[in-house]
């Protein structure tokens, strides 16, 4: 039986009449990496802030380690590490002061791990936070988030605006968190290759709703990309059952589709076409099919 660390049920939230989250349910299980995908403004950060007790649920419920993070913030935050997208850090402190400040909040602080990471990142402990580059701020924030070896690590767009070297440091921290003692990671990212590499479970949030959620391999296995060839050319995309996105021209079209391949093949041949090639869709193709082009189709419908 896999332990549930985060359980969000039917969460809705709006800001000044604008809906940010609309009936979101989300579960995170222990020992897994959970990737959150979605366009900017889709609601990822709003969801993560609810997990930390920084926002109160308007409707629905949020449980982290079985408790409501708004009612028991200390109980949740003591066991959680968090790196925010804005990396709000106390500007006036030195790196070393930030370490001691974080340590004071976390009895489980592992000073030798913090020291090791400072060395790896070549961060100067005497330097003031406000003097740090963007990449160094992310590294300092990351140490503060992971050095108490939290049971739950939450990273909001950790790679945003960072170069390849610092992105690698962040991914290493995720791997270590999970590999060392089966702890849990939730991270949001707009970099789909990162989500695909790092996630055991993925959730796609689109316009405040969960558009897609599941074990990555199941999600990947549920969608295919097929290249089609038709006897007669089409001026506009041919209508095919189970097709989520289609592009191409004339006799050649590429389709992202879900459901049974037989049914799809049948629908294609009914339009006078055949499948030239078919393979599992990539995460990016699935993302675009569910949260990209489909939007205009949904609005038109």
């Amino acid at each position: 039986m896999v332990e549930t660390v985060v359980d969000v049920h039917d969460l809705s939230r709006s800001f000044g009449g604008k809906t940010a989250l609309d009936g979101v349910s989300f579960r995170a299980t222990a020992g897994h990496v959970h990737g959150l995908m979605g366009a900017n403004g889709a609601g990822k950060t709003t969801l993560l802030k609810h997990l930390l007790g920084l926002l109160r649920a308007t409707t629905g419920s949020v449980r982290v380690f079985g408790v409501d993070p708004v009612r028991d913030p200390v109980g949740v935050l003591a066991r959680t590490g968090y790196l925010s997208e804005e990396r709000e850090l106390p500007e006036w402190m030195s790196v070393d002061e930030l370490m001691r400040y974080s340590q004071a909040f976390h009895p489980g602080w592992d000073a030798s791990y913090a020291r090791e990471l400072l060395d790896t990142f070549a961060l100067d402990p005497a330097k003031k936070i406000k003097e740090l580059s963007k990449g160094m701020r992310a590294q300092a924030g990351l140490i503060a988030a992971v050095a108490h070896r939290p049971e739950l690590l939450i990273l909001d767009e950790p790679s945003s605006g960072l170069d390849a070297v610092v992105r690698r440091d962040i991914l290493d921290a995720i791997v270590r968190t999970v590999a060392d003692d089966g702890r849990t990671v939730i991270f949001s990212s707009h970099l789909l290759d990162e989500v695909e590499r790092m996630s055991d479970h993925v959730t796609l949030i689109h316009q405040g709703r969960v558009a897609l959620s599941g074990v990555l391999d199941d999600v990947r296995g549920a969608y295919r990309r097929s290249r089609l060839r038709f006897l007669d050319p089409f001026d506009r995309p041919p209508v095919i059952d189970t097709a989520l996105a289609i592009e191409g021209s004339g006799r050649s079209w590429s389709v992202i589709h879900s459901g049974s391949l037989d049914q799809f093949r049948h629908s294609v041949s009914a339009r006078g076409g055949e499948i030239v090639e078919t393979r599992d869709a990539t995460l990016e193709e699935i993302f675009l099919a569910r949260a990209g082009r489909s939007r205009s189709q949904m609005e038109a419908a």
Partner: protein
């Protein structure tokens, strides 16, 4: 261990790892009894979730390619010939398919290709002689 992850062709990452370990074993780049990298090490190297490595190693164990030793690590199995032949055929088969497709595009038939393969082999001479003897043992 030399493994490359490619996210553009739609093959799941754990499947890519399985295929490449099988290839490394089939080609002799991983020897029987040799230890595979620990899960954490390979996850850090490939920048993938450790659970993907766990899954790939588990499937490789079920397929008899590797075995786990309690309290130590994951090792390439000793009994490899049967798998190796099948795997070697699969790898070469893919290359042949690609070659035949290209040959067809350029208007060569299979007999032309066979003749050209022999010509190339003769031209390479000694270079191919040694591995051929090795395979026969």
């Amino acid at each position: 261990m030399d493994i490359t992850i490619n996210l553009t062709d739609g093959v799941p990452i754990y499947r890519q790892i399985i295929n490449q370990v099988k290839y490394l074993v089939a080609s002799g780049l991983l020897q029987p009894g040799e230890e595979l990298p620990p899960i954490r090490t390979l996850a850090l190297q490939l920048k993938v979730t450790p659970n993907t490595i766990v899954k790939a190693y588990g499937d490789l164990e079920n397929a008899g390619v590797v075995h786990k030793r309690r309290g130590s690590g994951t090792f390439v199995s000793e009994e490899r010939p049967q798998l190796a032949i099948r795997e070697r055929r699969r790898v070469i088969g893919q290359r042949i398919d690609a070659l035949l497709a290209e040959a067809h595009q350029l208007s060569f038939d299979a007999d032309d290709i066979l003749r050209m393969v022999r010509e190339r082999q003769a031209a390479m001479g000694e270079a191919t002689a040694e591995p051929t003897r090795k395979e026969k043992k």
